[in-house]
């Protein structure tokens, strides 16, 4: 990879316009960087600050009146922990099944010996172009008895034509000698797939895995329309409900007739919202820096064809 910016150093002398360019460029980049980073920082800071300071706009870069009340409240909340557990189950199993299904299909489609290959490819492409929409799928899922089922939460969005095609292209570039020598050793295609093809395509497997986990982790709408039992709600759904609660605490406090506790509840409600955002995103944001470079590789995998 070429770092074009390296032409700043080296033998070329910096002209005045170059310096101007660098300054402006750096400024703009830094402004954007700050604009992206600041809301993230603010949410973290606000989640541990006294609501009075936050609500009157006196919190900017660091917390004031540090309080962990929101996190304490959240730790007690059963539905958050249940949501976490559910999401881990759905994302964990779901991503494993999804990746193996996608790669298995892609591998099969990449082999010329597959009978009906052309038709199957057309089928995959067709599913990419046209779909029946929300309602027919909903009716089908319901008729299959998968409504309100964890099974559906695990297998929904199992595979997508886009990734099937990219993986297929990837597999088709594996050298033919690999599979020939494996066949001579008595391997059949399944063994070859698991032992060799996957090992060689580690980058692809990693990317698919990570994208599948992230997608399942963040999914909110499908659980919302297909789940009825609160115990099955994934984290995002629980968070959404918490983030929408504006009035609940107020009504409760009104019943006790205590104006002060109403105010207190309103304040904590907002504080909790900040904390919920952090709690719900922690896993992703912690794991993210380590896996970030794999994503970049994956996008480049997808963009380089032929």
């Amino acid at each position: 990879m070429v770092d074009s910016a390296r032409f700043n150093t080296g033998r070329m002398k910096q002209s005045r316009s170059d310096v101007v360019f660098d300054v402006i460029n750096l400024t703009l980049i830094s402004l954007f960087f700050a604009a992206v980073a600041y809301p993230l920082l603010f949410v973290v800071v606000a989640s541990i600050s006294d609501p009075d300071y936050v609500n009157t706009g006196r919190v900017f870069l660091w917390p004031r009146g540090i309080t962990l009340a929101a996190y304490r409240e959240l730790l007690k909340a059963q539905n958050i922990w249940r949501g976490y557990a559910n999401t881990i189950v759905y994302a964990g199993f779901g991503s494993v099944i999804a990746v193996f299904s996608t790669l298995g299909l892609a591998f099969a489609l990449s082999r010329r010996e597959l009978v009906g290959r052309k038709s199957l490819n057309m089928l995959v492409v067709f599913t990419m172009i046209f779909h029946g929409g929300l309602i027919p799928l909903f009716l089908l899922v319901r008729n299959l008895g998968l409504y309100n089922s964890r099974a559906w939460m695990i297998i929904h969005s199992l595979t997508a034509g886009y990734w099937i095609m990219i993986s297929r292209t990837f597999f088709s570039r594996l050298s033919e000698e690999l599979i020939e020598s494996a066949r001579m050793d008595g391997c059949n295609e399944i063994q070859y797939f698991f032992r060799i093809a996957l090992g060689v395509s580690q980058a692809l497997v990693a990317v698919l895995f990570l994208l599948a986990i992230v997608q399942k982790w963040n999914s909110y709408f499908i659980p919302m329309i297909y789940l009825k039992d609160v115990e099955k709600f994934p984290l995002q759904l629980v968070m959404r409900n918490i983030l929408r609660i504006q009035q609940v605490g107020v009504e409760q406090a009104l019943q006790t007739g205590d104006a002060e506790s109403v105010e207190q509840m309103l304040k904590t409600a907002d504080l909790i919202k900040y904390a919920v955002i952090i709690v719900g995103s922690i896993p992703v944001l912690i794991v993210y820096p380590f896996i970030q470079r794999y994503f970049v590789k994956g996008v480049m995998l997808g963009s380089v064809k032929g």
Binding site: V2, S4, A5, F7, S15, D18, F21, D22, L26, I29, F32, F33, L40, P51, N55, G57, F100, S101, G104, L105, A106, F107, A108, L109, R111, E113, V115, L120, L123, V125, T127, F130, G132, G133, L134, I135, P136, L139, L140, L158, T159, M165, E189, I190, F193, N218, Y220, I225, Q236, L243, V276, I277, G280, S281, V284, L285, V299, M300, S303, G306
Partner: protein
């Protein structure tokens, strides 16, 4: 080796002709079908089979009669939809939101990629990349949650800032005139970093000698960008733009649903949210199916058109 050859001919008796070869291959390569089975089963079951339910678009669905037994009503649903005053608004909203997102999103991604490409300090560059990629992985719930807390009229910091500067607090989510901007620019916040990756990748494959020779001729950096970088990513731009145009009707409606309030529906109601509400909230099943079908057909057409164009301009396309 000989024993292997013998075994093979026993297992796969020589049948002649194309069909013979095909059946032989099915038997010989059966593991491939095993590998393909889960993915294929899912696609067929959940992408092909539901198409059967599309006929409801032309029927009047009754739960008792089921899909098969409901009576035909032809184009009634479409007559009803297109004559309702809401239809135009919904379609316009969908298109405007998409077009706005594209018109803002793609250029910002490009500009950001070009600018980041020329940042000298590699460590700062990587830091910026890491931070700007991060919002892409935040869930929609979190993103909209952040927006709603930050923009809260009574407790949000943005409104506090506005008030401190002498203005009046704004209920951002209730303003139908602000919705589109909120939607698009929060998308910029979330996706610019990630969206620039593909352009950065293209930029990294530029031949350094091009820069050197241009520098010898006294080119400024801006000229380098204009004359070398931009042409280098032109194919990528075209493909990205065409593919995005092809998906213009499949707006991120999770985000829209989350950002919708009763006060801003005039600009926030898009086709997909309307289908969802009509079908799954109000249970007008067949009506919603009809509109969903309309959406899918337009979507498919756009995809076909723009993908064909993408194919003509480069080797890259969706298929």
């Amino acid at each position: 080796m000989e024993s292997v050859a013998l075994r093979q001919s026993e297992l796969y008796p020589a049948k002649r002709g194309y069909l013979g070869r095909q059946t032989r291959n099915i038997r010989k390569y059966w593991p491939l079908y095993v590998l393909a089975a889960p993915g294929l089963a899912y696609l067929v079951l959940f992408h092909i089979v539901p198409l059967y339910g599309l006929q409801l678009a032309f029927k009047d669905y009754s739960i008792r009669a089921g899909i098969f037994g409901s009576r035909w009503v032809g184009l009634d649903h479409y007559r009803q939809f297109f004559s309702s005053w809401g239809a135009t608004k919904i379609i316009v909203n969908t298109l405007v939101l998409s077009a706005y997102s594209l018109a803002v999103g793609i250029p910002t991604n490009i500009v950001f990629a070009l600018a980041l490409n020329w940042v000298a300090n590699v460590r700062y560059k990587r830091l910026v990349q890491t931070i700007t990629y991060a919002p892409h992985f935040i869930s929609m719930v979190v993103l909209v949650g952040m927006l709603s807390v930050l923009l809260n009229p009574t407790t949000g910091p943005i409104n506090r800032l506005i008030e401190n500067l002498g203005g009046e607090a704004v209920y951002f989510f209730g303003r139908k005139d602000i919705f589109r901007h909120l939607f698009v620019w929060s998308g910029v916040w979330q996706n610019t970093g990630w969206g620039a990756v593909i352009f950065l990748a293209a930029l990294s494959s530029v031949n350094p000698e091009l820069y050197e020779s241009a520098r010898m001729d006294g080119a400024t950096k801006l000229q380098l960008i204009w004359n070398i970088d931009i042409p280098a990513i032109k194919p990528t731009i075209i493909v990205v733009a065409l593919l995005a145009l092809g998906r213009v009707m499949t707006l991120n409606f999770e985000k829209v649903i989350l950002m919708q309030t009763p006060l801003n529906t005039e600009t926030s109601e898009i086709i997909q949210t309307f289908v969802y509400k009509t079908g799954l909230v109000n249970f007008q099943i067949s009506y919603a199916t009809a509109i969903g079908l309309f959406n899918s057909v337009i979507n498919a057409s756009l995809l076909l058109v723009f993908n064909a164009m993408a194919k003509r301009f480069s080797e890259e396309s969706l298929w």
